[in-house]
């Protein structure tokens, strides 16, 4: 179990309990966090689950894998701390993580 905080573009904060082994995208969808669309259901095929990972979690979750980096090409306003939330696994290591949701998903 890990606590994850999502901050949407308008500044609203959503704190959710995410299950180990699920993904940061799934935790957002199950808790109705707005702004994460996840059209492809986590297949790393749509880039509509784009988030910005806040420090110090950027290093902890590490950089995107090549396939995710390719998919990020389709994201909107991609920044160095951009990740696709369906590709971040939940574990105790990310307990307390804060991610920001971009103001649009492409």
């Amino acid at each position: 179990m890990a606590k994850i905080t999502y901050i949407t573009a308008d500044g609203t904060t959503y704190e959710v309990d995410a299950e180990d082994g699920s993904t940061v995208m799934e935790a957002a969808i199950h808790n109705q966090v707005p702004g994460i669309e996840a059209e492809c259901g986590g297949a790393c095929a749509c880039a509509t689950c784009h988030v910005y990972v806040e420090e110090p979690w950027t290093e902890i979750v590490g950089p995107p894998q090549p396939m995710e980096e390719d998919m990020l090409d389709f994201g909107y306003d991609v920044r160095p701390n951009s990740r696709l939330s369906c590709q971040i696994r939940v574990s105790a290591a990310i307990d307390g993580m804060i991610v920001r949701v971009p103001d649009r998903q492409g």
Partner: protein, 342 residues
Amino acid sequence: MSAPIETDVVIVGAGPVGLFSVFELGLNDISCHLVDILDRPGGQCAELYPEKPIYDIPGYPEITAQGLIDKLMEQIKPFNPTFHFSQMVESLERLPDGRFGLTTDAGTTFRCKAVVIAAGGGSFQPKRPPVAGIEAYEGTSVHYAVRRMDDFRGQDVLIVGGGDSALDWVLNLQPVAKSITLLHRRDDFRAAPHSVDQMRALVADGKVSLVIGQVQSLKGDNGQVTAAVVKDKDNNELEIACTKVLPFFGLTMKLGPVANWGINLEENLIPVDTARFETSEPGIFAIGDINTYPGKIKLILCGFHEAALMTQAVYKIVYPEKRHVFQYTTSSSSLQKKLGVL
């Protein structure tokens, strides 16, 4: 425009459900043609997640999405369906003789007795890049595909993206355009390695300029772009002069022309009855992800079931005078002959 193709059924969409319909219709001596915007069969399975395993196809504890499509193609082979790829069905109308007329954006026309809409999540269409106000330039100086290379002759072309489409058009348009700039958010390309090498050689020769960054906005008026404002990787803003922009940001699914065919819709889905899977228009059927009814779930296996029931209803339209005889493939010699196993 060439002469219309005459067939029993036209299937709009060659996703898994459209493909399996060929099998069910074929067993009942109903011939069909399939049309899909993509350049290959498989719909979402082929375009969105070919390498991913699927675990809920009956009889296959695990099969990749592409693997399933390959198996379906093998299964429908005895029926020799004709595919029309890279074409979108644009119009569908009822003809005075009660049949249907369909036309694709490539000018192919069909005359058929029944239509099966297996359009899934809708048609795959190019994604609009996240640039405010880009709509104003679409069709005049912003294009999502190259229809005629001549339109780019003597133009300052800005190509945005890092995949195969972007790189292919850099290479193909370079000889005809006045200038080519390739803009991509990172200095790493998804495209085939040999295209990347060719592009890098053109950049080294000064024939193509490569900019690493993201488009912020477009400048111009009356639909004519004059420049793109770009933020480079160090967050500096720069302007790239251009008269044509070609963004390649992948595909997304939109309902598309299905909305204009006079069929009742419910939140972008087609309501059907669960005995025939017929739409509000008799003779037009809808199966797979595109339809809705009480209890609907968007699963491949549900689409397969819908294909089997739809076929019973279509049979009565194609062969109004015949009585339908239910048979098992296991034991029916006539079905086995059709499948080429007897």
